[in-house]
């Protein structure tokens, strides 16, 4: 199964609510047959610009990164579900590159 990365920006909330949102998200992933590999917390910080979502202007947010393996057909449904979640400000699913970067990329032409 291809490997994906979910970059999640959650609303600035108290710890138990953030935990509940994360739990909900991971459970949704697992229900749709994804295998969650890693969950990283990139911390709560000031957003680079004000984001409007669900009729609310967000200035601060918590950044999370979820690594998972999933079938490609669940992604559309998953993104739709995440966009409808009130606590999520900006969800994004990206494909993860399995290959290592090329070693001789910067060989100057002669």
């Amino acid at each position: 199964m291809p490997r994906y990365e979910l970059s999640l920006i959650l609303k600035a909330m108290q710890r138990p609510e953030t935990a509940a949102t994360l739990r909900r998200t991971v459970e949704t992933l697992m229900e749709r047959g994804a295998v969650v590999r890693d969950l990283e917390n990139l911390g709560e910080r000031l957003l680079p610009y004000k984001m409007t979502k669900h009729n609310e202007k967000h200035i601060r947010g918590t950044y999370f990164l979820v690594d998972f393996y999933a079938a490609p057909k669940i992604l559309e449904g998953l993104l739709d579900h995440l966009h409808r979640d009130v606590d999520v400000v900006r969800p994004a699913v990206l494909k993860k590159d399995e290959q290592a970067p090329k070693a001789n990329c910067c060989v100057p032409e002669q």
Binding site: S7, I9, L42, L47, P48, Y49, M51, G61, Y63, L65, V89, R90, A92, P101, A103, C105, C106, V107, P108
Partner: protein, 120 residues
Amino acid sequence: MLCVRRLRSLKTALYVSVNPGSRSLTSEIIQMENPYKEPQKGCTLCNVTVDFKNIQLLSQFVSPHTGRIYGRHITGLCGIKQKEVSKAIKKAHSLGFMSVTHKHPQFMKDPNICGIKHLD
């Protein structure tokens, strides 16, 4: 007749006699790599993976006043890396990791990689 003799004597005087037994330099050229060859220089991001999450690295290639991405003639990166950096910065903009119109004030004091001098 006399001039022919003189010419012949001149020829024998000027002609350098080569010992038939010795080897001349031109017959054997030793092939070797250029000993003065300098090691190949890559660009500054030669073996560095570029990621959209690494905003500190990406902010080094962005103007502190306007947040615009510097061109190849300023960053000094090779074609592949410049494209990767550009794509990563745009991805970071759209995913909400990096600001579009300015550079994060936390990264203003970072060392200058790009060959550009700001007037302030």
